[in-house]
């Protein structure tokens, strides 16, 4: 994928290994981004298969495809996989690949730390997924409510879950530190914070959300793990423990987490709509500030997940109100997107369709979210399929559609080839129709009294037809995903060559070749405006219409030597050590041997890391 191009600039000639070793030791943010993306797709197939099994089991009353035990594993792993191993890494793929380019930088602030984040994430994902082959996957729900998650410590499933989430959290905190530092210190000259593309902004907000929310769930996960393995009494009600504490710690993370999942998609949509409307984003600063407002308010609404837990009416009223008013910044974003396409010249290709689909579906999900803030009626909806419908509208109709929009938008930049539009349209329409068929009926199911997380339902409750519809819809979505994979496969070698700027883009990534050279920019651009690349190509006439410049403003050719980070195997080594440590910690006390081994491997990796210099340049 990484093709080196002949440039006037002399890139320092470090020998970069090819093949598998090259991928294992890479420190190039673009290759790491590709790794994240491919991993997300692979785990997406796993999570999707889990979803299809769930839908098969529920297609008819008293289904017998899965046992109760298998079903509980499926819905637990479906949730955990889709949140932590699919949507988050998919967003991380875009952030890794494009954040430095959007800022006009050569790489992230800490390339090797970036590699470490990726490898820790992969090993965390493997750690969780391997459980299917080790006597059963976690089965306590992705929310792991104590004391159910601390019950039966002899069965290691939930130990894997708690440790796996700690490991994945570590990966996310490291990459958040990395991205925030990148944004704060690596911007090109003239790239002020308010000139940053909205996607970069949303990535920054997401990094802050992860940075401040993950520590809280980590504490809770430590407590669950200790309750299970050391006999502590955090969640043992008989000893005075407080099961509700876990819910607070979990949702203090869990609610910001849902904004972690949706904000990158909002960022992508804010890039795609202006490009294909040929207009700048309407109310750019308002979109950015509403993103920040959503991030801030996201920390003040967590208890709306607990309206039936007995917090008392005063707390419930307060959290109901904060939840309601988070709809305001969300609404602002939607109106601004409408303002963006209003009066534009819309090019309805696949990327644009996914963004428009995002708006439509996200509005439905957002509005059903407002109905949850009505505390008394949430007591009817809580833990029913109505909630499942709501969050799939925002996370599938929102996050996943946004991500696919980004895939079709940026694919030519990453691969140098366009995805096939005909297959893309099929992909979009199948997914759009399938999505509404799957999750639309769930609104009705939930209001008609179907609870979540149940492996079967009896006849005579009126759930049969809607469930069958949802199952048909789920397979429609699966077909759409297959169409996408086919599209990827076909265009690998036969896709239309994209060129550097296939969409007449507005931001810096379109000013460099596709795929970008390893050093991104021959010369670091000097930014003079929002949508800087657009302004290099067009000037506005008196009535505000764009007029193409005679010749686009070209960057001068640079002959300055460029130093790139060297490949390093230390990150993957350190991550592997963490993996071994975690495996050992599940099987205490005799797992201590593995814990020690893993710790030594990690130390070895980190020590080697601190001893090697990042670039092969001698320090003077």
């Amino acid at each position: 994928m990484a093709v080196t191009t002949d440039t006037a600039a002399s890139v320092d000639s470090v020998v970069r290994p090819r093949g598998l070793w090259g991928w294992l030791t890479t420190t190039d943010h673009k290759r790491i981004g590709i790794l994240y993306g491919v991993t997300a797709i692979a785990f997406g197939v796993v999570g999707g298969t889990e979803a299809l099994l769930i839908r098969l089991q529920l297609a008819t009353p008293n289904g017998e495809i899965l046992s109760a035990d298998a079903y509980n594993q499926m819905f637990t792993m479906h949730g955990t996989t889709m949140v932590f191993l699919v949507v988050m890494p998919a967003a991380a793929a875009f952030t890794n690949y494009f954040l430095p380019i959007l800022l006009g930088a050569r790489d992230v602030a800490f390339p090797r730390l970036n590699a470490l984040s990726y490898w820790v994430f992969v090993f965390g994902g493997l750690f969780l997924t391997l459980t299917f082959f080790l006597g059963g996957a976690p089965d306590g729900g992705w929310f792991g409510y104590a004391p159910l998650s601390t019950q039966v410590p002899e069965v290691v499933r939930m130990d894997y879950w708690a440790l796996g989430l700690i490991v994945l959290g570590l990966a996310s905190v490291l990459s958040s530190v990395n991205f925030i530092t990148t944004v704060l210190t690596m911007r090109a000259p003239g790239m002020t914070l308010m000139r940053m593309p909205v996607f970069a902004w949303m990535a920054t907000v997401v990094s802050f959300l992860l940075l401040f929310s993950l520590p809280m769930i980590t504490v809770g996960l430590f407590q669950v793990f200790m309750d299970r393995n050391l006999g502590t009494t955090f969640y043992d009600a008989a000893m005075g423990g407080e099961p509700i504490l876990w819910q607070h710690l979990f949702w203090l993370f869990g609610h910001p987490e849902v904004y972690v999942l949706i904000l990158p998609a909002m960022g992508i949509v804010s890039e795609v709509l202006p490009t294909f409307s040929r207009k700048p984003l309407f109310g750019r600063s308002f979109v950015i500030f509403s993103g920040m407002a959503i991030g801030f308010m996201g920390f003040g609404v967590w208890a709306h997940h607990m309206f039936t837990a007995g917090l008392g009416p005063v707390a419930e009223a307060a959290f109901g109100l904060t939840t309601m008013f988070i709809a305001v910044p969300t609404g602002v974003k939607i109106f601004n997107w409408l303002g963006t396409i209003w009066g534009g010249s819309l090019r309805l290709n696949t990327a644009m369709l996914f963004s428009l689909g995002f708006i439509f579906l996200f509005v439905i999900g957002g509005l059903s979210g407002v109905t949850h803030s009505i505390v008394p009626s949430d007591a009817q909806q809580h833990d029913t399929y109505y909630v499942v419908a709501h969050f799939h509208y925002v996370l599938f109709g929102g996050a996943v559609f946004g991500i696919f929009s980004g895939v079709y938008y940026w694919w030519p930049k990453v691969t140098g080839r366009l995805l096939d539009e005909r297959l893309g349209k099929w992909h979009f329409w199948l997914m759009f129709v399938g999505m509404n068929f799957t999750f639309g009926p769930m609104h009705v199911l939930g209001l008609n009294g179907m609870p979540r997380r149940t492996y079967r339902y009896p006849e005579g409750l009126g759930f049969d037809m809607w469930n069958m519809m949802a199952t048909v819809g789920a397979f429609t979505i699966a077909t759409a995903v297959l169409v996408f994979l086919a599209n990827w496969w076909r265009t690998r070698t036969r896709g239309e060559i994209a060129g550097p700027d296939p969409w007449d883009g507005r931001t810096l990534e379109w000013s460099i070749p596709s795929p970008p050279p390893e050093h991104n920019f021959d010369i670091i651009p000097t930014v003079v405006a929002e949508d800087d690349f657009w302004h290099r190509k067009y000037v506005e006439d008196d009535s505000g219409n764009p007029v193409a410049r005679e010749a686009p403003v070209e960057s001068p050719v640079s002959t300055e030597p460029i130093h790139l980070p060297s490949p390093s195997y230390h990150p993957v080594l350190a991550a592997f050590g963490i993996f071994v440590t975690a495996i050992g910690a599940v099987y205490l006390p005799w797992g201590l041997l593995a814990v020690g081994t893993g710790a030594v491997i990690t130390m070895w990796g980190l020590f080697g890391w601190s001893m090697e210099s990042l670039t092969r340049r001698e320090h003077e």
Partner: protein, 364 residues
């Protein structure tokens, strides 16, 4: 790229939209018509309230629902209009004025939703405090203590000294006040037509109030994931006239009488050795607290977390191998740890099973 192929999915979509439109056109103005579209009987429909408290919540839901529908209609119409009106025709772009924003508009569409939400917030908070209020002495509320177990419900009537399982009897038109707690993990009590759900949390007591306006049977189920057989943890609420309820309560409060001879007496012998460490029969030496109280077992319509109809055949299957009817993971060693995850397979002989059934069916 041929245009016909692109059109095909679009045509499919148009057909689907038309189909949904027809469905919608068949319904009248009554909001609860959603139920009629679905057809059939919906015993767990939260939109079919059967008491004043559930009705309050229901009307609040519909208020918000119609406001949300209005907002959705406006936004999606604007979106559809913009897409149809401004889409590029052919391959050339029309010149586009580069509009960067409009502060007045921004202020308007920040304030407008906030105002709508503020309007919705008033009835929300009012209803919340109303339905959460504890009943006063003038309400003459019937108090019931509800304990969730994996995977069945225990109902205790302190006023009457009754302990029963999975099936709750309450009088019509009288406030019922539940105190919920749990013996193991978190459960959630939910009978949709009577009230929203409330969690049963170990180590604390949560309350919920409801009142049924019509006699009849109501069903619900545990709504908080509680492990293996979460789906099979259901409950039934029988709403009767006040007289009928009193008669039931008197009958339930009386101790059981074990027949002195016959198969039921033989069953009692088996019960003492095999069952009494977990089950209680009031008025006898059997006083186990891990499992449902069986004092008037024969008066119940169901067992096994209200998922299995109480028939001789079902009982026989249950006693042969409980996990064949309901997934459970019992382990007799767990009794030491005070953890019971369902009824174990006791390896009873057919004779023992027949005797036990005779005993159980005598417990009127």
């Amino acid at each position: 790229m041929s245009h016909r192929v692109i059109d095909r999915p679009r045509r499919t979509l148009v057909l689907l939209v038309l189909a949904f439109g027809l469905l919608a056109a068949c319904s009248g103005d009554d909001p609860t018509n959603l139920g009629r579209i679905v057809g059939g009987d919906l015993p767990q429909n939260s939109l079919d309230p059967a008491g004043p408290i559930a009705e309050q919540v229901d009307s609040l839901f519909w208020l918000v629902f119609w406001i949300a529908t209005g907002v959705f209609a406006l936004v999606s119409l604007a979106l559809a209009y913009a897409v149809l009106r401004f889409r590029r025709r052919g391959d050339t772009d029309r010149p586009v004025r580069q509009v960067h924003g409009n502060t007045r508009l921004e202020i308007a569409w920040t304030i407008l939703p906030a105002v709508i939400l503020a309007i919705v917030a008033v009835p929300t908070v009012a209803t919340l405090f109303e339905v959460r209020a504890a009943p006063g002495p003038e309400d003459d509320a019937l108090e019931i203590t509800v304990t969730g177990h994996q995977w069945w419900w225990e109902f205790h009537y302190p006023e009457y000294g009754i302990t029963t399982a999975n099936e709750m009897w309450v009088p019509v038109d009288r406030t019922v006040y539940l105190s919920l707690t749990s013996a193991d993990v978190i459960h959630s009590f939910w009978v949709p037509r009577l009230a929203g759900k409330r969690d049963a949390v170990p180590g604390r007591i949560n309350n919920i109030r409801f009142e049924a306006a019509e006699t009849g049977a109501y069903v619900g189920q545990c709504a908080e994931f509680c492990g293996l057989a979460h789906a099979d943890m259901r409950q039934r609420v029988f709403v009767t006239s006040a007289e009928e309820f009193e008669a039931w309560a008197v009958a339930q409060a009386s101790p059981a009488s074990i027949p002195a001879e016959g198969p039921a007496a033989a069953g009692w012998e088996v019960f003492q050795t095999q069952c009494a460490s977990c089950h209680t029969i009031d008025g006898t030496s059997a006083s186990g607290l891990f499992a449902p109280n069986l004092t008037h077992f024969a008066s119940r319509t169901s067992f096994g977390g209200a998922t299995i109809d109480n028939t001789t055949d079902h009982l026989r299957e249950w006693l042969r191998d409980p996990s064949s009817l309901k997934p459970m993971s019992p382990d007799l060693n767990d009794l030491e740890a005070g953890r019971v995850l369902g009824m174990p397979d006791l390896g009873l002989t057919e004779q023992q099973i027949a005797d036990l059934i005779a005993l159980l069916e005598s417990l009127e």
